[in-house]
């Protein structure tokens, strides 16, 4: 029997993979992909809660799915801007390695 808890644990595992990717990898594009993984883990738990809260008419709670729609839109905008920044960084420094970009490091 698949319960809400199964989906939440899988969502937590996906978030952990993304989190570990951000902490462990040094390639800025891989870090960016890991950010997408974390956003999608949040989406999965939102959709699971939406399916869990069935109202009196027998419909899932669509508020959470509207939130997921918004998250996907914002994530798409974020990817566009972030990749443009990466291209600008590559033009200036010829690298995508975060340890080569340390001007702001104290």
């Amino acid at each position: 029997m698949i319960t809400l808890g199964h989906y939440l644990i899988v969502s937590g595992l996906l978030f952990t993979i993304g989190f570990a990717g951000v902490l462990l990898r040094r390639n800025i594009i891989i870090i960016f992909m890991s950010l997408e993984l974390m956003l999608n883990a949040a989406n999965l738990s939102l959709v699971a809660f939406s399916r869990f809260r069935v109202d009196s008419g027998g419909m899932p709670n669509y508020n959470a799915q509207v939130f997921v729609f918004f998250i996907i839109t914002v994530a798409a905008a974020e990817v566009a801007v972030g990749l443009a920044i990466i291209v600008a960084l590559y033009r200036a420094r010829q690298t995508t390695h975060v340890e080569d970009v340390s001007s702001l490091k104290f």
Partner: protein, 167 residues
């Protein structure tokens, strides 16, 4: 909602998600991310969220990942050279991630709702595109307009970033 399909797609999603982080070649990472999103979209559909599942494939596996692959090929990124491992940083990062997962695990374990199965839907045919659209244009009209402005700002920002020489 068959248990076998849930485990299959969860395994596909987590396996290719881990491949994104582990692969040294950025193109292999990007392609693993596409397959990870496919598994995620199947999980959305197993939760009767068909519209979100389709949007996931169209926007993420389609548009966003094409953008990623385009940038990787434009910058001509090759397989990363092996650099010196910072053992303390790697161990610290793994421990923080592990602690985060344990925290989620125990919180979900405490949650009584997490042990209940999903309640049945009123009818097997649900009109989720219509219902999400109605909500989007009534209750969430203002956020929807703001998202429109946000996407416009992102478009202008990308053009500015890619046109001008950054000083």
């Amino acid at each position: 909602m068959s248990a076998f399909l849930f485990w299959l797609f969860a395994l596909v999603m987590l396996g290719f998600g881990a491949a994104v982080v582990i692969n040294r070649n950025p193109i292999a990472s990007a392609l693993s991310l596409v397959l990870c999103f496919m598994g995620l979209s199947a999980l959305f559909m197993s939760l009767d969220a068909f519209f979100i599942g389709i949007i996931q494939v169209l926007v993420y596996a389609g548009a966003v990942m094409v953008l990623f692959l385009f940038i990787i090929m434009l910058l001509d990124l090759r397989v990363e050279k092996r650099r010196k491992f910072n053992v303390v940083a790697v161990a610290g990062g793994s421990v923080v991630a592990l602690f985060f997962f344990l925290q989620v695990y125990f919180v979900v374990g405490q949650l009584s709702a997490a042990k209940q199965p999903f309640p049945p839907l009123g009818s097997p045919k649900i009109d989720d595109v219509r219902n999400i659209g109605l909500l989007l244009f009534t209750n969430y009209n203002l956020p929807f307009q703001i998202i429109g402005v946000l996407v416009l700002v992102a478009t202008i920002g990308v053009i500015v970033l890619s046109k001008r020489e950054l000083r």
